[in-house]
């Protein structure tokens, strides 16, 4: 390999490893002053992210043998398998910290460890594998990649459902849903998994160098982000009363965990009398006061009016037959909108939307769709 090219590839890989080591030190040992006492509670995945950084030290065989085919094969296989898995562990710890995992669920790490260990030894020149090992490695890594890719898709969908669920428990209008950290990074593990796979199959030192440069830049950005002493924690409200879809493989949710019990299995905390009283008051707020016509209404408003906390409110809403706060308010708004459309077919749709409490006409249309109704204009035509 020409000397300049060797230097470029070496520098790229060295920068990648060093920024990873720095990231590891930050994640494990840096505490922003703003969150000193509660840091581990607010940012639960710090150890997992730290491990992801620290594990990249295992790229050392390639740094010492830049451009060599065996070392390249090892380091690319390592990237595909370990990166994907560790990102799944990270997401699990960050978005679902209340779910506890048994040690046995980490068996998913065994296939990569078993398949990478001989390659690791060969990269260091300690053993010499037979000729067919390259073909076998490509086959094994391809199978494992497809499996991990599928798991990253499941994780992304799970994060999306959990974020939506948290939003529906608090807000009555999809326009009000805050764009949280989860929405922004739910597809990141999947994206990184396929990028690593593309790099693996290209099997070229130049592609590896590009990958190193790209992730060095990402690491530098992430270190700067971590060093911000005022960064906000991701706040998924832990009202995990929906049943997370059980995954057949390891790192799955523990279905017996109380925090992930389905709505049907939730232990009711309110006595029947208390529930009856609260549901009558809630019905009065909805049917008589039309509280749902208030724009930007949130669950906090109902909690204050009823004088109960979030858990009791959720129980009252679900025992009354609604799936969430968003569902309850949407149902009433849609019914009210339909009656207004029938009574005043000539009124502008936007005015009807605002009178019903929607923040926009499109928000009203979305609510109709979410309730399985026809569009508002269809009701107008019928009227």
């Amino acid at each position: 390999m020409p000397q300049p090219l060797y230097l470029i590839f070496f520098s790229a890989n060295l920068a990648f490893i060093l920024t990873n080591l720095y990231g590891w030190l930050l994640k494990w040992f840096y505490r922003p002053r703003a969150y000193d006492e509660d840091f581990l509670r607010l940012f639960p995945a710090q150890r997992a992210v730290g491990w992801l950084y620290l594990l990249q030290v295992l790229e050392l065989p390639y740094l010492l043998n830049i451009g060599q085919a065996d070392a390249l094969l090892y380091v690319n296989a390592f990237s595909v398998l370990v990166f994907s898995l560790q990102m799944l562990v990270m997401c699990e710890g960050y978005f679902f910290p209340e779910v506890h995992h048994r040690l046995s669920e980490y068996w998913v790490f065994l296939p990569p460890i078993v398949s990478l260990f001989p390659l690791f030894l060969q990269a260091f020149g300690l053993i010499r594998l037979p000729e067919w090992h390259r073909t076998a490695t490509f086959i094994i890594v391809s199978i494992l990649f497809l499996w991990y890719f599928w798991r990253t898709i499941c994780m992304a969908l799970r994060i999306g459902r959990a974020v939506r669920r948290a939003n529906e428990d608090t807000y009555a209008d999809s326009d009000d849903f805050p764009t949280r950290f989860g929405d922004k990074i739910q597809w990141l593990p999947t994206g990184i998994c396929v990028l690593m796979a593309v790099n693996f199959f290209i099997d070229d030192p130049t592609a590896k160098a590009f990958r190193d440069v790209l992730f060095t830049v990402v690491n530098i950005w992430f270190c700067i982000y971590t060093l911000n002493p005022w960064r906000k924690p991701f706040d998924i409200t832990a009202k995990t009363t929906e049943t997370m879809s059980a995954e057949p493989d390891g790192l799955s949710s523990d279905e017996k965990d109380e925090t992930t019990a389905s709505a049907d299995e939730t232990q009711f905390r309110l006595t029947d009398d208390r529930y009856t009283e609260l549901s009558h008051r809630l019905e009065s707020l909805l049917s008589d006061e039309h509280i749902f016509t208030e724009q930007h209404i949130t669950a906090d408003t109902l909690m204050q009016r009823l004088g109960i906390n979030a858990n009791y409110l959720t129980e009252v809403i679900q025992r009354s037959g609604y799936s969430s706060f968003y569902d309850m308010i949407s149902q009433h708004r849609v019914r009210h909108a339909i009656s207004l459309i029938r009574q005043h077919p000539d009124r502008r749709m936007a005015d009807i939307a605002y009178d019903c409490g929607f923040t926009s006409q499109s928000s009203m249309t979305k609510a109709f769709a979410s309730q399985g109704k026809e569009s508002p204009s269809s009701y107008r035509k019928k009227a």
Binding site: D183, K184, W187, T190, V198, F201
Partner: protein, 46 residues
């Protein structure tokens, strides 16, 4: 055999990468649009 697996792997993973990129761009576009709408609402309410 190795070359066949590599070629097939590049093809499949590239298609998957493009699909994921499409999903990411679309979801980020939706988030950006929602944030703009919320900003306008906030300014209007002021």
């Amino acid at each position: 055999m190795e070359e066949i697996i590599k070629t097939a792997g590049i093809a499949i993973s590239s298609v998957l990468a493009l699909a994921v990129l499409f999903v990411i761009v679309r979801s980020q576009w939706t988030i950006w649009r929602q944030e703009r709408r919320q900003e306008k609402q906030h300014i209007y309410n002021k």
